[in-house]
Point group: C2
Chain length 341, copies 2
Amino acid sequence: MAVTLKDIAAEAGVSLMTVSNVVNGKKARVSEATRERILRIVKDRGYVPSASARSLAARSSRLVGLLVPARDEASLTIDPHTVEVVGMLERELRRLDYHLMLRGIAHRAEITEALKSWNLDGAVLLGFQDAEIDRLKADTIGDVALVAMDSYSANPLALEVRSDDFGGAELAVAHLVALGHTRIAFAGPGFAATGVVRQRFEGYRTVLAANGIAFDESLVSTVETTHADGLAYGRRLARERPDVTAVFTTADILAIGLIEGLAVEGRSVPGDVSVVGYDDSDLAVYVTPKLTTVAQDLSAKAAEAVRLMMDRLAGNDRPEQATTLEVRLIERGTAAPPARR
Amino acid sequence: MAVTLKDIAAEAGVSLMTVSNVVNGKKARVSEATRERILRIVKDRGYVPSASARSLAARSSRLVGLLVPARDEASLTIDPHTVEVVGMLERELRRLDYHLMLRGIAHRAEITEALKSWNLDGAVLLGFQDAEIDRLKADTIGDVALVAMDSYSANPLALEVRSDDFGGAELAVAHLVALGHTRIAFAGPGFAATGVVRQRFEGYRTVLAANGIAFDESLVSTVETTHADGLAYGRRLARERPDVTAVFTTADILAIGLIEGLAVEGRSVPGDVSVVGYDDSDLAVYVTPKLTTVAQDLSAKAAEAVRLMMDRLAGNDRPEQATTLEVRLIERGTAAPPARR
DNA sequence: CATGATAGGTTTAGCGCTATACCTAGGTCG
DNA sequence: CGACCTAGGTATAGCGCTAAACCTATCATG
């Protein structure tokens, strides 16, 4: 068996509670001499507190769940862009002596199960649809501090962290307009369900309107965030819409597929068509020409998620339920002035 | 407070232990009627067992650690290739009602800490160097079932899962030889430390020898597994080694950088130089031409890791300490016969 | 000199669960 | 007809920890 508080107490000749207080750095009344003696023994014997016992006795687990949708028996859907956030979250939490439990969620009920079973202090929801988050009720989540990433829900129970999707789109489209484009297409996944895409779409519309460019619904396409769908879209665009001189997309991977699709049909980027991606993923610089794209600060995003969570856990809830982080446009090689007619 | 075993027992009019036995599906003596009544109440009240209490009382947590190196205050190093394995591992474990705790390890001592503190049943080590795994001693790991991924250690305490790196290299290099190449370079990160790279290097040498091609040390380069380093290597190669007609690399990302580096210097792939990558990552099909590469079955790898772990946990240890999985060559567009002189 | 403060602890009572030993009524067997 | 199964449970004793209340010697204070 592992060494316990009791063992340390016996060896130090004090009560178990004294050891507990010292180990937890409580501001309890303990003399310096005793404290040091205990710490010494703790170190010598390699004592490590039992998280389960703590969790049981203290009603706090110092465990945070990372809940990610998983279609039933399938594996998690963590895209490369998301995984960076995971790493950052882990670091932030580790720094605060919290731990991260990764859990795929196939049915909504599993969220409750995970929260209750492990007595989670908090949870981060990654990749859920806004509607799912909206459906979360107080009785399912207890008093867990819930943070949803990249959602636009109306649920007062969940804290939210996202980057400025509206502003990012504005930046991107304004850049294209400034270059002289007027026939600018929008490509992203179905935005009925996801606020992120809707926000970017609104940003797109807003800039067009502000510049006196009429909104043309035929320039808006629903394209899934995959290379294959981007490619198919690119081919379609090249064949059917010679008038389009620029495309704003909601993801780098889509943009890269799109560029390839255009190339297949003999149209070059940015010569014939300008393309702007979104995310500034690693991919963006692997392709030639390098992708002009909108960058989010993922590290800040993770840090903010943890900060929001810790604030709620500490009880000092603040008015801001949701934080929106700044984004910036990274100008690289895929956006240029439109070709002369 | 949440509903506990005691609550269920009171409502069902039986003892707490009877409920516990029913909930855990023990083959204890309980009448069908009682069992059903209890299960009914459990469902109605939404009872979920407390994992911490179980872990404390049963000395088994049903928790598996996913330990990943993290340089100190920095975030985890999960490359896109690794993240797929993480997802697969989570699925396999979830299916068996285990949970995954993600933990970055900055100092070796943290491994012990994590294991002891959370009373982990098992742990998966992802991305550690062979030497680190070799250093793990019985007193640090207790009786946790440890599985190391992609390691070639000599540590009898750790189970190991990897794919056939030697064979993968053989496949790749044999393909290049079959195409007619004789000046074949090898590019990979420092292989003094990592068995994976060493195995691939040995596979490379073996095929050369088998085909009567003299080994030329000047064709072997240490290149880190990044796009930037691959690019720099490509430029160097193009300028300094016009004799090289093919390169076998240990990673797709390196290969992609390499191809770009060659292109910068005016050399085309596969026209002037053939390139073979490794991993068959998503990236491989995003570039043009699509990358010829060696594919591993990541899903099988994760499944095997979990199987090995469960076997050890069940006590029926089997002779095979390590499992090596098959790989296959994916022929795409970056390897072709060498140009005529 | 009674009265507190204060430092430096200790004791008690669980948290929710599991392992293990134990109990009892009714049937079975030689 | 006493010994003994067996079905169907129950009772007890923790697992390792924390929160909260309690204790005692010492010293200052009006």
